[in-house]
């Protein structure tokens, strides 16, 4: 293909090979009024790829709630959403996937995922202050899983640690549906003065256009198209589509960009992620209703003799496109010189809807930028969807057919031996969680990560959540649960939920049953986000997460990862999860139901895979959050931890493990004991109350008719004692839990 002359007209076969559909090629010919050349087809192929155009998802994404009282920048307007946190400050945040690159080259795939998401934040003029990540892998025992896990964690660690932004929270989940196709979702949040916002819009014909940062190489060419394909046995052939990261360059680019943000020389700036120069020039032009003239000979390259389309499509990392106000070029140059970074004038903004690229004095491509982008000429499809047969079948699950194990002590230990329940210490200790000196959760372990806003007492609470097993069982309810869990984690830590970003990881959109999962997820997310007043600020969609194993397509569990932020007015009021003192009273707040559906216990211990999502009622959930907030505001409780994976038992042990105290509790007769201890019904939080506050707490419960149950007391002896049976010593649980994931 590389031998083709770029000024020759392209063929339909070439377009198809680049991933375009026949009707899309026809459409391009109509837009241009002629047959495009190879370079132009390449441009359309990446801009109209799923990854850049959202062509198969945008119809549904538009239905998500995106308005809220604190939104400064809404979904789709800039590189990331922006939430007002008061005092003239704003928080920019976003989550993005880097699944396909990580499946082939876990170290670089994950590293560049971290780099990309942080660039989205600082290109707006915000300094990143915290990161989270949400990772899914196949069965833990598989050698391939271990290779991927090691590589991904090292990649995230090496890039993020060097770049110097703390990792505050995260999740790791294992299920065989991810065997070939891991999910790597990276989140970053940054802080900025509201006035420093840099827009990703080009304007002012005659204004110079600069490329800054790293040189352009042949890495990551057609990465966006690759991300829009199924992962197959032949995927290794796409290895050159994986980019290579350099956190040192990124760190310099961060500092230089933030210095630039303080000047008035910048008209607009956008990072170069998917589809590199092509995407940044066309999106910035289209956003400003202008065109650009770009001279590719001026782009600093790593190799000589790079073809025009290679320069245009390269996804070399750590680069930005900057439109500068004419006359202020030297101000910009000076900053990048200080940081020893490239800063090259490559073109100018022009009038009209034409984006032109030149090489050796020849125009190699001329396209209308508006025709390339989402919201402009990029195609929008409504895909067919169909409820899969398993959905109804899962609902037939009957708890009475599951016998209660005789030895529940053994079940408790069994659960802590499961990689999904066990400590993720091996993972998170490889991430710098304290650089930036803003992590309030290090010494006050809390359900959500909390970052101090330095210079104030405020904190940004954040959580990434998605139990994809629930989403698989019931996409609509499972996704509503994911939003609820994120909100619960923030509330339990003392925060008020503000907004979410989402990373929608699904199978092939052309597969009606996969698309049904996507549609259900959007519906559930909309409902929950409206209930919790947390608008969706953006994120990304990753389709084609599946493998073809012996000719059969197996999609991953549908995984709409939710990244939520919330605000703590005063971090001194953070609510931590560890037991505080002997004889503190332990209560369960929320409803208790006979339910073990989709629990780790049911799936791993009983090996029953087919059951619906666990019990969930969104109104009860919302009420629970208000009650917990009220307890925290009135200082009635001294610890709080939600019941999530592994149920109440696991939550109690976690509260004990982070304190070295134990507990003595009683179960109730009306509920199956296995369900009471290990069921994962939603809307439950364990709280502890000091003896001094007991009367006030009980009074509050009574006055407001709050659903709650007295469980027992915190004990000095560090054991987990349930109905007078010793379920194990806290030290032993630590020992088990810390050694399951240990590579």
């Amino acid at each position: 293909m590389s031998n083709k002359q770029t000024n020759n007209t392209a063929t339909l076969d070439q377009a198809l090979e680049l991933g375009l559909k026949k009707e899309e090629f026809t459409e391009i010919c109509e837009i241009l009024g002629r047959i495009p050349n190879f370079t132009e087809v390449s441009i359309y192929s990446v801009m109209w790829s799923e990854h850049c155009s959202y062509k198969n998802s945008i119809h549904w994404l538009k239905k998500l709630p995106k308005d809220g009282p604190h939104m400064l920048v809404k979904a789709g307007e800039e590189n990331a959403g922006l939430v007002d946190i008061g005092d003239g400050l704003a928080c920019a945040f976003k989550i993005e996937s880097h699944n396909h690159p990580s499946a082939l080259e876990p170290y670089q795939g994950a590293a560049t995922g971290v780099g990309g998401i942080n660039r989205d934040i600082f290109t707006m003029g915000a300094r990143p202050i915290a990161q989270m990540n949400s990772l899914r892998f196949g069965k833990y025992e598989n050698p391939r899983t271990k290779w991927l896990l090691k590589g991904v964690v090292k990649g995230i660690g090496n890039y993020g640690n060097s770049f110097g932004i703390p990792v505050l929270s995260g999740e790791v989940f294992f299920d065989e549906s991810y065997d070939q196709n891991p999910l790597v979702n990276a989140f970053s949040a940054g802080l900025m003065n509201v006035d420093d916002l840099i827009s990703a819009t080009a304007s002012g014909p005659g204004n110079p256009v600069f490329i800054v940062g790293s040189s352009t190489g042949k890495d990551g060419i057609h990465g966006a198209a690759f991300a829009s394909k199924d992962i197959t046995e032949d995927s290794m052939d796409d290895l050159p589509a994986v980019q290579v990261g350099d956190p040192f360059q990124e760190k310099l680019l961060l500092e230089a960009s933030l210095e630039l943000a303080k000047t008035d020389a910048v008209v607009g700036m956008q990072d170069m992620g998917a589809a590199g120069i092509t995407c940044s020039t066309s999106e910035m032009s289209a956003a400003g209703n202008v065109g650009m003239k770009i001279d590719l000979d001026k782009v600093p390259t790593r190799q000589s003799d790079m073809k025009d389309w290679e320069i245009l499509l390269s996804e070399s990392q750590e680069r930005m496109l900057v439109v500068v106000e004419k006359g202020k070029e030297s101000e910009v140059k000076k900053i990048f010189d200080k940081w020893d970074l490239n800063c090259e004038l490559i073109g100018e903004v022009t009038n009209g809807d034409t984006l032109e690229f030149f090489q050796n004095g020849q125009c190699v491509a001329s396209v209308p930028p508006s025709s390339l982008v989402l919201g402009g000429g990029a195609p929008v499809y409504q895909r067919e969807y169909k409820e899969p047969a398993y959905f109804k079948k899962y609902k037939e699950f009957n708890i009475n057919k599951i016998s209660i194990p005789e030895n529940l002590v053994e079940v408790g230990r069994f659960l802590f031996n499961q990689p999904n329940i066990a400590s993720k210490r091996w993972v998170y200790e490889q991430y710098d969680s304290m650089v930036g000196t803003n992590n309030v959760s290090t010494n006050n372990p809390s359900d959500a990560g909390v970052a101090l806003v330095k210079g104030t007492y405020k904190g940004i609470a954040m959580s990434v959540d998605c139990n994809s097993r629930y989403v698989h069982a019931d996409p609509e309810m499972g996704t509503a649960i994911a939003v609820s869990e994120a909100a619960r984690n923030i509330v339990v830590s003392g925060g008020v939920p503000s907004a979410i970003t989402n990373c929608l990881n699904f199978g092939n959109p052309y597969h009606p049953e996969s698309y049904w999962q996507f549609v259900g997820a959007i519906k559930g997310m909309s409902k929950a986000c409206e209930k919790f007043s947390t608008p969706v600020t953006g994120g990304n969609v990753s389709f084609y997460n599946q493998s073809i194993v012996s000719g059969k397509e197996v999609p991953v569990f549908p995984t709409p990862t939710i990244g939520m932020i919330g605000l703590l007015e005063d971090v001194r009021n953070i609510m931590s999860l560890n037991f505080k003192s002997e004889n503190d009273h332990i209560f369960l707040v929320g409803k208790i139901v006979n339910d073990i559906s989709s629990s780790e216990y049911l799936v791993k211990y009983h090996e029953v895979l087919e059951s619906p999502a666990p019990y969930f009622d969104i109104d009860e959930e919302f009420e629970l959050h208000q009650n917990i907030k009220n307890f925290i505001d009135k200082k009635l409780i001294n610890a709080a931890h939600d019941c999530a994976d592994g149920g109440l038992f696991v939550s109690l042990v976690e509260m004990a493990m982070s304190s070295n105290l134990g507990c003595e509790i009683k179960t109730v007769n009306e509920i199956r004991k296995d369900s009471f201890l290990f069921g994962e019904s939603q809307g439950r939080v364990i709280v502890t109350v000091s003896s001094d506050q007991l009367d006030s707490f009980k009074n509050e419960i009574k006055t407001n008719g709050i659903n709650s149950l007295y469980l027992g007391k915190v004990s000095k002896e560090s054991h987990i004692n349930i109905d007078s049976t010793n379920y194990g010593m806290v030290e032993d649980f630590k020992e088990i839990s810390n050694n399951v994931i240990n590579l």
Binding site: G164, F248, W339, D340, Q430, T437, T442, N443, L452
Partner: protein, 230 residues
């Protein structure tokens, strides 16, 4: 009490150190740039943590050649106070201002967590006001922090009061279980013979803000800064 904090390209704890010194400990701080040829009469020069020049070759190996390091060496040779934290410690070892070297952690992984330190030196500026029977909770975050030197050097370090801190448990017991990276004799920080140049892997600047729930680093800075006041 004029403190200078050096920023190398790739330093990422420089802002944290400046914040700790100026906002929490109320010191006068100037930012020194790696290309500078002047230390602006600072009494204490701090090399902060991070990944100077990317640290792709070997931690601190490139930074020692930067222009500011000539001035730091000059300052040190004149008896001026120098403190290197984490990458700063690695740079001081590479520059020959401190004995020994820092190897990859024995588990070959980056490690970030709270550790406990026991002050070993009686007279070094950063230790002199500390309680030798107490442990201090100071976090680490490094991939190359395993302190190593020849047997003779280690012996002389102890004999000359040059070992600043050793990793210990919360009660102050020094044992291998509490050694996070395989450092010889649990050594977490050392000084030169004159004790005016000090380096340590743990990050005291991460343990000064009461809002973060750990202020065990404050006595270390107070010990060091009191000396400047005298």
């Amino acid at each position: 009490m004029k403190c200078g904090v050096v920023t190398f390209p790739g330093s990422n704890c420089n802002h944290d150190m400046i914040y700790a010194l100026s906002k929490i400990l109320n010191q006068k701080v100037v930012e020194l740039w790696h290309k500078d040829h002047d230390t602006q009469n600072c009494e204490l020069i701090i090399l902060p943590g991070g990944f100077s020049y990317g640290d792709y070759l070997r931690s601190g190996a490139i930074a020692r050649f930067s222009p500011i390091m000539k001035e730091v060496v000059h300052h040190a040779n004149n008896g001026g106070l120098v403190l290197g934290i984490c990458n700063g410690f690695q740079i001081l070892c590479e520059a020959g201002l401190l004995p020994g070297t820092l190897l990859h952690n024995n588990n070959q992984k980056f490690i970030c967590k709270n550790t406990f330190l026991k002050p070993a030196s009686l007279k070094a500026p950063i230790c002199q006001n500390l309680h030798s029977n107490e442990s201090y909770k100071i976090p680490i975050a490094h991939g190359e922090g395993r302190y190593f030197a020849s047997e003779n050097v280690i012996k002389s370090l102890f004999n000359n009061d040059q070992v600043l801190f050793q990793y210990c448990d919360i009660q102050g017991n020094i044992n291998q279980d509490e050694n996070p990276n395989g450092s010889l004799n649990n050594i977490a920080g050392v000084s030169n013979k004159n004790q005016n140049v000090m380096g340590m892997m743990p990050h005291p600047e991460r343990a000064v803000d009461p809002l973060l729930g750990n202020t065990d680093g404050v006595p270390l800075f107070n010990s060091l800064l009191n000396l400047i006041a005298v």
